[in-house]
Symmetry: C2
Subunit: 320 residues, 2 copies
């Protein structure tokens, strides 16, 4: 099966089935032709997932695909953008039709869930690796950038932290997890939820935002650097899922929450003036988020527990 036949069979048909916003010309020409909605800016992010670095090569193909797209969409969420389109560059060691069918199934399942159309791609032979580029649209003034935070802003995170790293440890059999938490953690790794809904709620309220892919300390550190401030975090306020709370080694759970990465939750800042509006969203159950600290003068991220410095042994996931 040639490259063209492969694309046609596993990617073209499903892509063509969905009518999507602004797709003038989809897969099959030299370029896709796309129409960005009037008055909006294009938001673009690219992520590569390498087998046995970012996911186990033996994972189910549909889960690899779902994870790849969801992780990438998390970057659009972190910017406050609405997903529109994506491209797929996939490098495969061989043409395994069953694997490709399953991959395609997972990919389009996630694409439909988040209203994102596959508009182009490239297939090559080599060690298994997937590069997705997602494109979305955002109103010029409403983008959630990293550099908008101010002194005295509250620091919040959505949902729970640490699940990503704990799930990976479970999948790699480095961590024993009680049966009742296994399915939850598996989902958290392979089907992370891009916080698109939450980001829409936060437009106009958050002063800065990003998604936590490399760990809270590392990523909040980028936000602090971009905004020229420091953050003080109360580690006891960091939200942990029941699965993480159940772990015997609570220090390990906290380390994962602080430095583990792969959580794809939003970390965002809110000024004291806007905090009551965000608190109302939380109180009404529209937004699941929690205050974990504040921004102060200085640089870096400082973790505290009961007023004392909380010492970290790792500083976040390093791709290199």
């Amino acid at each position: 099966m040639g490259e063209f036949e492969l694309i046609k069979r596993f990617f073209w048909r499903d892509a063509a089935e969905d009518a999507h916003t602004g797709v003038v010309l989809g897969i099959g020409d030299d370029c896709a032709l796309l129409q960005v909605p009037d008055g909006q800016q294009l938001a673009v992010s690219v992520d590569t997932l390498v087998a046995d670095v970012h996911f186990p090569a033996s994972a189910a193909a549909d889960e690899i695909a779902e994870r790849a797209l969801r992780v990438n969409l998390s970057d659009l969420a972190a910017m406050g953008a609405q997903p529109l389109w994506f491209t797929l560059a996939i490098t495969l060691p061989e043409t395994n039709e069953d694997w490709l069918r399953q991959f395609s199934h997972g990919l389009f399942r996630a694409a439909r869930e988040f209203g994102c159309a596959l508009v182009g791609g490239d297939t090559t032979r080599g060690p298994l690796s997937i590069t997705l580029q997602v494109m979305g649209a955002v109103e010029p003034v409403q983008a959630l950038r990293r550099d908008g935070a101010s002194l005295g802003d509250f620091v919040l995170v959505t949902h729970n932290l640490g699940d990503g790293a704990a799930a990976l440890a479970m999948i790699e059999q480095r961590l024993a997890v009680a049966p009742e938490h296994q399915a939850y953690l598996h989902q958290r790794f392979y089907r992370p939820v891009p916080r698109l809904r939450e980001a829409q709620l936060l437009r106009g309220l958050a002063s800065a935002a990003l998604d936590i892919s490399d760990g809270l300390v590392a990523d909040l550190g980028h936000l602090c650097a971009a905004s020229d401030l420091a953050a003080v975090i109360d580690v006891d306020q960091i939200p942990l899922s029941p699965a993480l709370q159940s772990l015997a080694d609570r220090e390990q759970a906290l380390r994962w929450a602080l430095t583990g990465g792969d959580d794809y939750e939003l970390c965002f800042t809110v000024s004291p003036e806007k905090m009551s509006a965000v608190a109302m969203l939380i109180a009404e159950g529209q937004l699941e988020a929690k205050v974990i600290g504040e921004l102060v003068a200085g640089s870096g991220v400082h973790c505290e527990r009961e007023g004392d410095a909380f010492q970290l042994t790792e500083t976040g996931y390093q791709h290199f």
Copy 2:
């Protein structure tokens, strides 16, 4: 050196040095924010180059980078779009600073030459591979699509064919080339020229177009299929460079021209009504292109020599 430090050091600075059209927010946030020019459509194409599949892993890093961007820009040319931005996803087996410095140098050299700004990317660890996504803008009615050709249209190609495959054979030491042609072929492989200037001339004149990456027969076959027609090619009309004309094995030179791939020339069709305008551009030396055949009823690409069928032993480069 962490991923963040690496990006900052080798990619961020150069990217920030250039002021570019429509870059609202470049490298360093969750997404790039881009403003497509008013009234224009976004053209997007993605290409992956895998070490030892698409280029020798031992090649000079600046040449790998230049080739990657130039090959990708060829897809924008084939659509008649003007380059604006690109993203880079690079997977590296190790952090080799000399290699990265050289790669970055080649990348930005080509980016400046073609007015294309690096706006985002991802760096990961793994087997060497480069995925670029180029983005450009095109007037809605002027895009050069594959499906616009009509019965009786002339088939033309720009410059020379076969150089890409011959150059690869030379680089891989499968072909001995006279010293006076070596530098030319080396350039043709590592510094292919995206035919952006030619494509701008052809907007409003060509009925369909694509770039020749997989070989004339395979790529023209896609154009024929998209336009529901067949093509008849006179192989003796295919333009060959002096380097290819000098080869002892003329049949091999023709096979490379027909099926070798990696040429990144434009193949385009012109209606009889518009042919005189295109012929004038050629005669005046503004456009280097040649008529090699015509479109007829039927399907597929039929090669002829002196009126007889010319038999091919290969049907183009297959990525799989």
